[in-house]
């Protein structure tokens, strides 16, 4: 059976705590940057810059950190799945030496 990587990557998370938000079975994005962050991680893994499983472990870790800090005993409006996703992506990019902290800071400093 042929499987597109994109399909594999998202569905490999199903039933697991790092599964992205969905609405009526479709992936749900509230802001453009969420979709961009999502697409970046998928494209880079598909093109061999890192293993999908490594990204998932980074995502699971970033989610666990948040839960440890904020607790999981109530629905918290501060929770932002894609913020954790972006943090995981940033860490994997640094770990693979694709981007450095300094470069990110320099790029953010240029933003108005």
């Amino acid at each position: 059976m042929q499987t597109k990587f994109e399909h594999y990557a998202t569905t490999s998370m199903l039933g697991a705590p790092d599964s992205p938000p969905r609405c009526n079975a479709k992936l749900l994005f509230h802001h453009e940057w969420e979709a961009r962050a999502f697409g970046m991680a998928l494209a880079l893994s598909r093109d061999g810059f890192f293993e999908w499983e490594d990204f998932r472990q980074a995502l699971i870790a970033s989610i666990a950190e948040w839960e440890k800090e904020h607790g999981v005993d109530r629905v918290n409006p501060e929770w932002d799945y894609y913020e954790r996703w972006l943090l995981a992506l940033e860490r994997v990019l640094k770990a693979e030496a694709l981007i450095t902290t300094e470069e990110i800071q320099a790029a953010l400093a240029k933003e108005p």
Binding site: L14, G15, C23, N24, E32, G39, A43
Partner: protein
């Protein structure tokens, strides 16, 4: 869903700026091109064409007598359609149809193998084969459906059907309100494989869905 309006806009702006910065840096370094991310997003936005199963669902919605035959003996009802021979269950598989109503929701899983009626629904989504998903769907279907963004009222009974090598199940979803005047061909266009597995509702169109104009699903 009003929760997100309590969200600190500064955090939101920082995330947006960071995502933009990362993508710009990756493009600058030649790791990706300016098209790469858009292409991935488009892949998820691209809809697959109508499936044979969708044509069955559309006809059942339009024709109550056909629906009756489909529920009673799916194989012979399928044989009425002008599907190519291989598509009509000629491989000796028995197709059964489970009808969703306002009080009963059906979910199809396969805990043993990958007994997916692919001639009707297309190739099986990868997750259908995932052992964790299958086991959880059998054990806690309501919770699993919720993860799919499908929040069923507690009063709705969930029936889980386990496809086997002999019997392939698919779901006859509920017809969405407001679609009564649509043609059979147009109805077939809106029926998704997910709806025929019982993990999604059939929706009129992406535009008519949802309360949040900014949210996009794909």
């Amino acid at each position: 869903m009003t929760d997100r309006f309590l969200y600190d806009p500064k955090r939101e702006a920082l995330s947006a700026a960071k995502a933009k910065a990362l993508e710009a840096l990756l493009i600058k370094k030649g790791v990706i091109t300016s098209e790469t991310v858009t292409k991935v997003i488009d892949f998820f936005k691209t809809k697959m064409g109508p499936f044979n199963g969708a044509k069955l669902v559309a006809r059942a919605w339009k024709d109550p007598a056909f629906k009756k035959r489909l529920l009673k003996n799916a194989n012979s009802a399928i044989a009425e359609m002008d599907f190519p021979p291989v598509m009509s269950g000629a491989e000796g598989e028995h197709v059964r149809v489970a009808e969703n109503t306002s009080s009963v929701h059906n979910l199809i899983i396969c805990t043993l193998c990958s007994c997916y009626p692919w001639t009707l629904l297309g190739l099986p989504p990868y997750w259908f084969k995932d052992p964790v998903f299958r086991a959880r769907a059998a054990r806690e279907p309501r919770k699993v459906l919720k993860e799919f963004g499908f929040d069923l009222d507690d009063s709705v009974e969930i029936r889980v059907w386990d496809s086997s090598a002999q019997i392939r199940w698919f779901v006859l979803p509920e017809q969405p309100k407001g679609s009564e005047g649509m043609s059979e061909a147009d109805l077939a266009e809106i029926v998704t494989p997910e709806a025929m597995m019982g993990v999604a509702r059939v929706e009129l169109s992406p535009a008519s869905r949802g309360y949040d104009p900014k949210a996009q699903g794909f």
